[in-house]
């Protein structure tokens, strides 16, 4: 079972929470990101996700390693789905276990922030009257800066 993966099938949440559960885990947090019907007053029909799969899986694993370093004792499993997703489908799942709850919440929220920053995955929104690849404009990083 892979703890960090990009998949083109519906996400089975239980699989990822099972991966992080162990006898010393007192808390498990599971975040799922879902396709929302309305964004800023515009109705989404469906989404399409593209990814650079091997690099995206590598970056997910790096984020997991960052989390284990920042919050000792946490265990992590994450997946992102690609392809066409309809309203309420799960795009991303983040499962974190920890001996105590505080770290489980903090590490989980850290993960989704980092995914949105560095993992090569792209979302296209398809509306009734158009479509667009979404992505914030970012300047090219200078030498030594964090990418």
């Amino acid at each position: 079972m892979k703890r960090y993966e990009i998949i083109d099938q519906p996400i089975d949440v239980q699989k990822y929470s099972d991966l992080v559960l162990h006898p010393a885990a007192g808390a498990v947090t599971v975040f799922t990101g879902h396709v929302r019907e309305w964004t800023h007053g515009v109705r989404t029909l469906y989404l399409a996700y593209d990814a650079y799969v091997p690099m995206a899986e590598k970056k997910l694993a790096e984020i997991g390693a960052e989390m284990e370093a920042k919050w000792p004792g946490v265990q992590v499993a994450m997946a992102h789905r690609i392809g066409e997703l309809k309203i309420s489908d799960i795009a991303v799942v983040i499962a974190v276990s920890s001996p105590h709850r505080k770290a489980a919440y903090e590490a989980n929220e850290y993960a989704i922030e980092r995914i949105k920053e560095v993992v090569p995955i792209w979302k296209k929104e398809i509306w009734e009257d158009g479509e667009e690849w979404i992505g914030a404009q970012k300047k090219y990083p200078e030498k030594g800066s964090e990418s």
Binding site: M55, K116, P120, I121, Y140, P141, K143
Partner: protein, 77 residues
């Protein structure tokens, strides 16, 4: 040869998922300039380049055999 991958908007713009380029060695900046000239509207100002699955800086040199990818602003999650 350098392999270059295109994703998302760039896949649609170029009409291809990947291609091979016989221009090694070249810097990341030179690769971005080549792409902008070859594909009008490429938008190199907002695009990062990954070399062998790791984000690269503009001065980094791409060697023959390297696998490159253009990374437009990500929007996962």
């Amino acid at each position: 040869m350098i392999t270059v991958h295109y994703f998302a908007r760039l896949r649609e713009l170029t009409g291809k998922g990947e291609e091979s380029l016989d221009r090694a060695p070249m810097t990341v900046e030179e690769l971005l300039n080549w792409a902008e000239e070859t594909y009008p509207g490429f938008g190199k100002e907002t695009i990062h380049v990954a070399v062998n699955e790791e984000y690269a800086l503009k001065d980094d040199v791409i060697q023959a055999g390297d696998v490159c990818a253009f990374i437009p602003p990500v929007s996962g999650g």
